[in-house]
C-alpha cells in the first residue's frame, strides 16, 4: 500500500474495501499543539470533511464516496477515484506542453469554467470549502471530459454569509496564482463562470465585492512593527 504523507494526514492508497478501490485518510496527532486542541481539531475536521462531502453530493457535485469513518484511528475510508489527476497537475502539463501561454489558456478555459460552475453550485448550497486549491480538485478519466471532483473538506464549514464565500474565493485565488504563476486570466474565467452560474445575482454581487474587499485588506493593511 503506497503512503502519501500530507501536512496533517497520511493517505494510504491502493486499498480495497470489499472489492472497491479505497484510500484511507488518517489524521495523525500533531504533537506541537495542546492535546485538547489537537483532539478537538482532529475530530472537528473529520466531521467537517464528511459533512461537506455529503452536502456536495446532495448538490450534485462529485466527491469520493465515503465507505467508513473510524473515530478510533481518526480515519476516513473512501473511494479512490481511479485514473485521476489533480487539476494542478493537469494545468502544469498543459502549460508545459503549450509554449504559447495564450493557447494554453484557451485550452484550459473549459476547465476553468467547469470549476467556476462547480463552486457556484457549492456556494449556492452554502458550503464553504475552506481550502480551495487546484490540488484539491481532481479530474477523472480523460481530462477533456471535465469530470471534476472536489476533495479535502477538512477546513470546510456551512455558512450563508457573503464574507465567508468571498474569503473562500480569495483563498483559491491566492493558491491558484501561487501554483500557476501568470494565470490571472484563467482565474478570471473561473470567476466569470461562477458569476454566470449563480442564480441569485444580488447575492453573487455581494460575494464578489467581499472578494475585492478581502484582496484590499491584504494590499492596504498598514503594517507596523
Amino acid at each position: 500500500m503506497a503512503v502519501l504523507q500530507g501536512a496533517e494526514a497520511k493517505l494510504y492508497l491502493g486499498g480495497d474495501f470489499y472489492g472497491r478501490p479505497c484510500i484511507i485518510k488518517e489524521r495523525f496527532q500533531k504533537n506541537y499543539r495542546h492535546p485538547i486542541l489537537d483532539k478537538a481539531l482532529t475530530s472537528q475536521r473529520i466531521k467537517s470533511e464528511v459533512r461537506a462531502n455529503l452536502r456536495c453530493r446532495i448538490a450534485g457535485i462529485q466527491t469520493p464516496t465515503i465507505f467508513m469513518v473510524n473515530f478510533d484511528t481518526n480515519s476516513i475510508y473512501m473511494e479512490e477515484i481511479q485514473d485521476a489527476v489533480t487539476v494542478r497537475q493537469h494545468i502544469n502539463t498543459v502549460q508545459a506542453a503549450e509554449l504559447n501561454p495564450a493557447s494554453a489558456c484557451s485550452q484550459l478555459k473549459p476547465l476553468a469554467e467547469a470549476i467556476g460552475r462547480t463552486l457556484a453550485k457549492m456556494h449556492t448550497s452554502n458550503i464553504i470549502h475552506g481550502d480551495l486549491t487546484t490540488s484539491n480538485m481532481l479530474l477523472e478519466g480523460d481530462p477533456s471530459e471535465l469530470s471534476l471532483f472536489l476533495i479535502d473538506f477538512g477546513l470546510s464549514s456551512f455558512e450563508a454569509s457573503a464574507e465567508d464565500k468571498g474569503v473562500d474565493l480569495y483563498v483559491l485565488e491566492r493558491a491558484f496564482l501561487s501554483s500557476h504563476p501568470n494565470s490571472q486570466e484563467l482565474f478570471d474565467c473561473i470567476l466569470a463562470a461562477y458569476t454566470d452560474q449563480t442564480q441569485d445575482k444580488n447575492a453573487c454581487k455581494e460575494v464578489i465585492s467581499k472578494l475585492d474587499e478581502v484582496r484590499l485588506r491584504g494590499r492596504k493593511r498598514t503594517m507596523v512593527g
Binding site: D16, K47, G60, M68, V69
Partner: protein, 183 residues
C-alpha cells in the same frame, strides 16, 4: 449453496460477514419468530430497501466496528446492522422500514461470525429454500421507497449511482444526523 457470500471484515480479519438472499417465500413469519426467540442469530432485512449487497456490507462492516469498539446504539451486532443500514436515528422506525416483516416474500440475511455456516443452514431449513444469488436483490429494490427513505436529492441521483449515495449516508450517519453523535 454457492450463492451466498461470506466475507472477512476489512478491519478485523477474524470476523466474517455472511450475506444471503432468499426469495419466493410464503412468509417470513417462522424465521422472524426464531430470531426473536434467539434460536437464530441473524439480521433480517427487507430486500426492497437494498439496491446492492455492498450497501448491506457497508452497514455490517460498520456494525461490527461499533461492536468491537463498544460504541453500539442497539443491544447486539445484528440489530446494529439494521440500525446502521437505516438513515433514521430512531431504532424502532429503523426496524420498521428496514427489517423483514412477517408478510414479506423475500428476505436479505446478514450474519456476523457464522461458524461453519450453522446459522445459514438453519435458516434454509426453516424457510425450506436455498438462497438465491445475492445480486438478485437489485431486481427486488424499490428505488422510489429508497429515495424517499434516504432523502436523496434529484441532483444527487442524476450525478451518481444510487448505491454510492446510500453508502456515503450509511458511513456518515452519526455525523450528519444532528442530536446523536460521538466525539
Amino acid at each position: 449453496m454457492a450463492t451466498y457470500k461470506k466475507i472477512k471484515h476489512v478491519l478485523y480479519p477474524d470476523s466474517t460477514i455472511t450475506l444471503a438472499l432468499y426469495s419466493g417465500l410464503e412468509s417470513c413469519k417462522d424465521l422472524r419468530k426464531s430470531v426473536m426467540e434467539g434460536t437464530v442469530v441473524a439480521s433480517l432485512l427487507k430486500p426492497s430497501m437494498i439496491v446492492d449487497p455492498f450497501q448491506v456490507l457497508t452497514a455490517a462492516n460498520k456494525a461490527v466496528h461499533l461492536s468491537r469498539t463498544n460504541n453500539m446504539t442497539t443491544k447486539n451486532v445484528h440489530s446494529e446492522i439494521l440500525f446502521c443500514l437505516s438513515p433514521s436515528k430512531n431504532i424502532s422506525e429503523s426496524f420498521r422500514s428496514f427489517g423483514a416483516a412477517d408478510s414479506d416474500t423475500s428476505v436479505f440475511v446478514a450474519i456476523v461470525d457464522d461458524a461453519e455456516d450453522k446459522t445459514l443452514t438453519r435458516i434454509s431449513e426453516i424457510l425450506g429454500l436455498s438462497p438465491v444469488s445475492i445480486d438478485d436483490v437489485a431486481s427486488l429494490a424499490d428505488t422510489v421507497l429508497i429515495t424517499k427513505a434516504y432523502k436523496l436529492s434529484e441532483e444527487e441521483i442524476s450525478t451518481y449511482p444510487i448505491l454510492d449515495a446510500l453508502v456515503s449516508r450509511i458511513a456518515a450517519k452519526e455525523i450528519i444526523t444532528a442530536g446523536k453523535g460521538k466525539n
